[in-house]
Structures are given as C-alpha cells and as structure tokens.
Symmetry: C7
Subunit: 81 residues, 7 copies
C-alpha cells in the first residue's frame, strides 16, 4: 500500500475515485468519493455523507471542501471503522 508515496499529495492522487474519510475540525467528518484536490487541500467529494459526533447527519452529494478545515484524509479507513 505504501509503494510510490514520495510526497504527501501522492496519497491523495492515489485515492482519486476511491472512498475517503475526511476528518474536519470541530468533530465533523465526511465520507465520499474523492474526485479532485489542489495544493491548498481543497477537495471535492462525490456522494458525500456528513457525520457529526459519529452520527450520520445528512447526504450532501457532490461537495467542495475548503482545505483549511481539514485535519486528515484517510483513503483506507472506511472499511476499518
């Protein structure tokens, strides 16, 4: 899984088209399919679902997320929760 990761953004590049868990500040999370990102770590998720304090809150579909509210992005963690 680790092969080919030279720089942090390689992980996001490898995760395009896959489900990711995005941990936001203030106990918000989103899960969805990573479609795009930029160097500010602004990202786009498709079929995004917002989770607050471990509860499903709402489906927000296609969503643009600003990078500065993101703590971490984890492509592999969906299956492990």
């Amino acid at each position: 899984m680790v092969n080919g990761i030279e720089r942090p953004l390689d992980v996001l590049n490898n995760a395009k088209g896959k489900e990711v868990l995005v941990q936001l500040k203030n106990n918000r999370q989103m899960v969805g399919t990573l479609l795009a990102f930029d160097i500010h770590i602004n990202i786009v998720l498709d079929n995004a679902k917002e989770i607050i304090d471990s509860e499903d809150r709402r489906n927000v579909g296609l969503t643009f997320l600003r990078g500065d509210t993101i703590i971490f992005i984890s492509p592999a963690s969906i299956a492990k929760e």
Copy 2:
C-alpha cells in the same frame, strides 16, 4: 454529475446560477443561488437565507461571503435535506 471535474473549483464553476448549501464555521449555514466566486473562495449568493442550528433565521438577499469562514459548498444537497 462527476464528469468534467479536474480541479476543485470546477465544481463551483458548474454550480453558477444554481442553488447551493454553504456550511460556515460555528454552525451557520446559508442557502442561495451561486452567482460568483474567486480563488479565495469568496462567494456571492443571491436570495440567500441564513440557517443557524437548523432553523431559518432570516433572508439576507444578495450576499458576499468571505472564503475563510466556509467549511463546504454543496450544489447538490438542497434537494436531499
């Protein structure tokens, strides 16, 4: 829906003239028609309605929103709430 999204800002470009849900920091949300945005994610909404803790609070009409208070912008999520 996903076609043609190479960079995060493509989602905002595709959403011009459509209703979007904007999640702000501190549990504020706005819904309105996206008229314009820039690279700082400053945006303009028309017919904007402010929602705090899931309650409608007030209509603020045409509104300029500073990018640094925005968590996410979701063009598709109006119908799904």
Copy 3:
C-alpha cells in the same frame, strides 16, 4: 439585481453609498453605509451601528473594519430584517 456580477467584489462595488449589513465573527453585526473596501475586505462604514445578539448596542459613526473578522456583507438585507 444580479446583473453585472462577474466577481465577488462586484457586489461590494455596487453597494458603495448604500446601507449594508455586516456579520462579524462572535455574533457581532454592524449596519452602516459602505464607503470603501479593499482586496483584504477591509471596509469603511459611515453611520455605523453595532448590534450584538440582535440588540442595538451603540452608534460608532465612521468605522474602519478589518476584513478578517467579517463573515458576510449583505447590501440588500437591511429592509428584510
């Protein structure tokens, strides 16, 4: 009202000389006549009135506001409250 808005700052340019509602962080608001703004969204209001938790607090007259405390600026919302 929407005509001619290509970039977010066009809204502020159109609002010069008119009353605006300015929502600040921490539940502060100001209403006043927009006299000037810059790219940092620093603005000047004349006849500014400060409102905290929906109560009028004080008239502060001519006022310089730093952009980084601003959430939104709404030129049309005075009449709608």
Copy 4:
C-alpha cells in the same frame, strides 16, 4: 465627514492625531490618540486606556497594537458612547 475616503486606510490617515475607539477580539477595547498605522493595521495609540467588558481597567499610555487582534477602529465614536 465622508469626503475624500477612497480606500479604507484613508479613514485611519484622517484620524491621525485624534481620539479613536479600537475594538479588539475577546471583548477588549482601547481608546487613545492615533499616532501611526501600517498596512498590517498595526497601530500606535498615545494615552491609551484599556477597557474590558465596558469597564476601565488601566491606563497603558503609549501603546503598540498588533493588527490581527483588531476588529474595528472608530474615530468618531468616542463622543457617542
């Protein structure tokens, strides 16, 4: 009072040598004579008096204030409080 204000910093330039009210984050205020400012909105007040939660706390005399803690600067508001 409004004449000659093209840019936000014009208000500060006009206020040099006059008393201003400076609203800081966290409910702190200062009043004093504006001596100098720069583009970061760092300012210098002379005969500055610190006010916390509307109470006079202390005279701090000549004071350098960092711009990023400032919400607004109001040259006209001293007389109106």
Copy 5:
C-alpha cells in the same frame, strides 16, 4: 541520536519509515509509520491509529495529515509511553 540534525526537518527525514507520535490540536494524537512530509509539515502515516484523550479510538490506516493541525511529531516517544 542527535547527530546530523542541522535543521528541524532533518528530524522528520531521519524518521521516515519509523513509528512516530503526532500530537494534534484539540487533544487528538496519532501514531503510525511516517512515510512522507513536505515543507508545510503535511505528513503521511501508514497504519495510523487515532488516540483521543489517551484512548484508542480507531485504526485509520494510510492517512494524510494537514500540517496546520500538528503541534509536535516525536519519532522516539512510542517506546517511552
């Protein structure tokens, strides 16, 4: 252990491929194998485990962490806890 550390990032370079403890703001911690970092201190951990208030919460596997939420990164501290 100290040999060869001229600049702060040398510590992270030496820690590649090793377990690190990452202290995040808001009492979150992560432990995992450091795979990559950049000058913004964005990092990638493999086999990352999230710890909140000293309790194991979840395995998040391969994870991208944004630099601005990081307080410290400690390569040597795993064994010492």
Copy 6:
C-alpha cells in the same frame, strides 16, 4: 513622548533597553526589558516575568516571544499599573 513616531515600529525601536508590558492572548502578560524585535513582532525580553490573571507567576529571564500571540506592547505602562 510622541515625537518622532512615523511608523508603528518606531515605538518598539524607541523602547529598546526599557521595560515594556506585553499583553498576550489568553490573559497572559509579560513584563521585561525589550532587547530586540523583528517585522513579525517576534520580540526578546530580558528579566521577563510572566503574569497570568494579574498574578505574578514566574520569572522566565531571557525570553523569545512569537509575534502572533501578542496583542499589545506598552513601553510606558509599567509605572502606571
């Protein structure tokens, strides 16, 4: 006292070698002799004494203070408290 202050940093330059009161965010203060400063308002105090909620807490001697935690620096205020 006001003579010769054209720019905000002139106040700090004039205060070198003198006692200053430094107000930090979160109700911390320091008093000490100003030895050096830079454009980020990073400063060095000698014989620094930390004060929290108006109580002396500890002598920290020679101290480097990062600019972004500073609210104000007041060279004249020691005698007035």
Copy 7:
C-alpha cells in the same frame, strides 16, 4: 547575558545545545535541549518532557515542534522555576 542580541533569533541561536522552556498554546509546556530551529520557529528538542498544567506528563524524547503553536521560548528559565 544580553550581549550580542541584535535580532530575536539570536536568542535561539545562543540557546542551541542548552535546555529551554517552551510555552505552547493551551497550557502545554515542554522542556528539552534545543537542537535546531528555522525562521518559522519550528524547533527540535532532545530529551523533551511534556508538562500540562504544571504536571509532568510524559517524556517524548527527540521532538519536532511546529512554530505556530509556540508562545515563548525561554533558555534561562529552567533553573528559576
């Protein structure tokens, strides 16, 4: 002790190889031997010990600290506590 300090970073340069007290935001402190620093005030401590609310919490050994969480760094204060 004051000799040779022209700029704030001179204090950190003089403190290399010596014990320093690092005050972080949110009532965290660290003590340790300063090995390296950069212009962002990212630092490396060896034999670092974390202290929260004046209590020893844990030894974290060699540690990279991000500059933006640092309030002050005090080379002389270890002996004085």
